[in-house]
């Protein structure tokens, strides 16, 4: 595939930012663009099966997204994986700090734990965006 790959680095747990990252990842993947997502810092909490507290933390726009029933970010990532070339990696450092294992994440979503060095190295060949 000749299209430049898209690399998405997620560190915020804010619903709005995760929504935007999920939209970008899903749309790029279904547009025949390979996508890799690296999930770190507070963003890892969003993807837990049983997050402590509210999964959808954020401001006014988070409420609007929920009220209007915008597509759920987890569903968007799953659709992107199913319909395109999309891989998600959970930051091993953030997992260690938060005491998380791969089994703690939503099923059929995270491909593996990963390191930042490898992700950034891979991202040199594509376009990197941060949420």
């Amino acid at each position: 595939m000749s299209t430049t790959s898209l690399y998405i680095l997620m560190c915020s747990g804010e619903h709005e930012k995760i929504q935007m990252a999920a939209m970008a990842a899903a749309v790029a993947a279904v547009s025949e663009r390979p996508v890799e997502v690296f999930i770190s810092m507070n963003a890892v909490k969003f993807f837990q099966k049983n997050p402590a507290g509210n999964r959808y933390s954020g401001g006014e726009f988070s409420k609007l997204l929920l009220d209007k029933k915008a597509p759920d970010p987890i569903d968007l990532f799953k659709q992107g994986k199913m319909l395109g070339e999309l891989k998600l990696y959970a930051c091993s450092m953030a997992m260690d700090v938060a005491g998380l294992e791969l089994d703690d994440f939503v099923d059929d979503l995270i491909d593996s734990a990963g390191g930042l060095t490898k992700f950034l190295s891979d991202a040199e060949t594509g376009q990197l965006v941060v949420f």
Binding site: A26, S31, E32, K69, P71, L76, L83
Partner: protein
């Protein structure tokens, strides 16, 4: 004979109608058409753009009242 199916995505927000179209395109034969009903203006712009990029065909796009009718033909 060309088969035509309709998917009703009225009330769904971007990129819901596009994702549903793509999922349905996997299920039909080359040459078949899918009509997407959408109330999302962004999708009315985005769906033809995606269709062009991945080399399917936008057969027609029409706004009737608040509803967009976007007909896409599977080309590959």
């Amino acid at each position: 004979m060309v088969a035509k199916t309709t998917i009703d995505m009225r009330g769904a927000f971007c990129p819901g109608p596009l994702m549903e179209l793509i999922a349905n395109l996997k299920l039909v034969e080359i040459g078949d058409e899918i009509e997407v009903l959408s109330t999302d203006k962004g999708s009315a712009m985005d769906i033809p753009e995606w269709v062009k990029k991945v080399k399917h065909e936008t057969v027609s796009i029409e706004q009737i009242g608040d509803i967009w009718h976007i007909v896409v033909k599977k080309m590959k």
